[in-house]
């Protein structure tokens, strides 16, 4: 059975070591925060100028001047700091962020990421996506394995406008965990009850089954 969104978030949370700085993209990746065990010290960065982001506020304690990059009201943990956008993107572009978890429209087998525009669709904008994809030391992607129309999101070459080239390290979908290696996609883990054949059928590029035979990409 494929993983639910919350199960995907829980699985992604396992990818976050203690003592790291992590940026969670808008949408699916935002869910990961709730699955980090309290004893694990993770510093969440929000590119609008906040490090040490806490959970959503209790009702009645919302402050419209304390938001995340998705413009949702959040809180600030002890040890948190606020700063201007130039410093915030110095953190990102300067490779000081350990992990960014991003959504995707397409990921290519060489690690190219497309996540900001659909050809012919409404222009939604770039925001911090290109800087994050390029700047964080390790890029995890969280996405459904296929589109609403059943088309693979993991492909040989992206056909949508790129966010950044060869930047993705690992992909967590509703069906599997897949690494981007120098030899293409490599299966790391399957959702319970999902077969290798199903994942391969829904992936637009060859899937290697023995990732341990290859040296994994490393940031």
């Amino acid at each position: 059975m494929p993983w639910s969104k919350e199960e995907m978030a829980a699985r992604a949370a396992q990818e976050i070591p203690d003592g790291t700085v992590v940026n969670l993209g808008i949408g699916l990746p935002t869910l990961v925060a709730d699955h980090l065990p309290p004893e694990r010290q993770v510093w969440l960065h929000s590119e609008n100028g906040l490090l040490g982001m806490g959970p959503f506020p209790f009702e009645g304690e919302e402050d419209s001047q304390i938001i995340n990059a998705g413009k949702q009201t959040v809180t600030i943990l002890p040890g948190g700091s606020t700063f201007d956008s130039a410093l915030s993107f110095a953190m990102i572009r300067g490779r000081h962020i350990d992990i960014a978890i991003l959504g995707a429209l397409q990921v290519a087998e060489n690690g190219d990421l497309a996540n900001w525009a659909i050809p012919g669709g409404k222009v939604m904008g770039i925001g911090g996506a290109m800087d994050l994809a390029l700047g964080a030391k390790r890029i995890l992607v969280m996405t459904t394995h296929v589109t609403n129309r059943g088309e693979p999101k993991l492909v040989k070459r992206c056909t949508y406008p790129l966010t950044a080239k060869a930047c993705v390290h690992r992909i967590i979908t509703d069906l599997a965990v897949i690494d981007v290696t120098p030899h293409g996609f490599a299966l790391v883990e399957l959702a319970p009850g999902v077969s290798i054949e199903e994942v391969q059928a829904k992936t637009g590029a060859p899937l290697r089954l023995s990732p341990t035979e290859e040296v994994a990409f490393s940031g």
């Binding site: 929000s46 590119e47 609008n48 100028g49 906040l50 959970p55 959503f56 506020p57 209790f58 009702e59 009645g60 304690e61 919302e62 402050d63 419209s64 001047q65 304390i66 938001i67 990059a69 998705g70 413009k71 949702q72 009201t73 959040v74 600030i76 606020t82 700063f83 201007d84 956008s85 130039a86 915030s88 993107f89 990102i92 572009r93 190219d112 409404k122 222009v123 939604m124 904008g125 770039i126 925001g127 911090g128 996506a129 290109m130 800087d131 390029l134 700047g135 406008p161 790129l162 966010t163 950044a164 080239k165």
Partner: protein, 244 residues
């Protein structure tokens, strides 16, 4: 002997928004602080619509949302060109784009703010890794340093910056509050004339030297505005735990 003129730091505090915006002109480029609706100079934004200028180039991350903030400029038809990073659910802007009323230039957010910082810091151009191999690279010089490709990006200045601050003194030393800071201090540095709307005007010396977020050298005009809506864009909460 040359009779000294009065420098621009002598008298910055003005008594009204209209006075603060008196020298705006048609076709001006205007930076506006804020991330979405957070940290907007609300009274200055409304004042510009009242002022009746047009054909503006608006430089701001989002251009408002939910009919609020800079959506007022889009709907008033005074923006000819928008330079920013994200549109998202900004229906006013999507409409204006579709109808050909506003020309839109979208920039990666880190490049957007770094270009403004460069303008303020006397740096005419810099190289950045962001956008290499994407549509952002079109028409730009690509150069290799230490085996990696980078794009050349130019400084981005403007005629005016409209900025919201929590506190200001009469020299223009500013304090911002939480994530309302965002692009504001950088825009203060980048614009030829920086106009600040502060929640509270304080005495010189009320802000400790170590606690000034943006020194007054970058500020040209200050107006105190005590009332703000500070709207929520997405009010998200979690359940309060039951008391034991």
């Amino acid at each position: 002997m040359v009779q000294p003129l009065i420098g621009r730091h002598r008298q910055k505090v003005v008594q009204s928004v209209d006075e603060a915006l008196a020298d705006l002109f048609d076709g001006a480029s205007i930076m506006v602080g804020g991330f979405g609706l957070c940290g907007n100079p609300e009274a200055l934004i409304a004042g510009v619509v009242r002022r009746g200028v047009k054909d503006l180039t608006l430089i701001s991350n989002n251009a408002g949302n939910l009919g609020k903030g800079l959506n007022a400029w889009i709907e008033a038809g005074i923006v000819r060109r928008f330079i920013g990073t994200y549109i998202g659910t900004n229906e006013a802007l999507h409409r204006a784009m579709a109808e050909g009323r506003v020309e839109v230039e979208i920039i990666p957010q880190g490049t957007f703010v770094e270009r403004m910082r460069a303008a303020g810091a006397g740096i005419p151009a810099f190289y950045t890794p962001t956008g290499v191999g994407t549509v952002v690279a079109e028409g730009k010089e690509v150069r290799v340093f230490d085996g990696q490709e980078y794009l050349l990006e130019r400084a981005l200045s403007a005629d005016f910056a409209l900025i919201r601050a929590r506190k200001a003194d009469r020299f223009g030393n500013l304090r911002f509050y939480r994530t309302a800071r965002n692009f504001s201090p950088i825009m203060c540095m980048a614009a030829r004339t920086t106009i600040v709307e502060c929640d509270e005007l304080v005495e010189l010396g009320a802000i400790d030297p170590d606690d000034v977020h943006l020194p007054g050298i970058f500020v040209h005009r200050i107006v105190e505005v005590r009332e703000h809506e500070d709207p929520f864009e997405y009010r998200t909460t979690r359940p309060r735990p039951l008391s034991p």
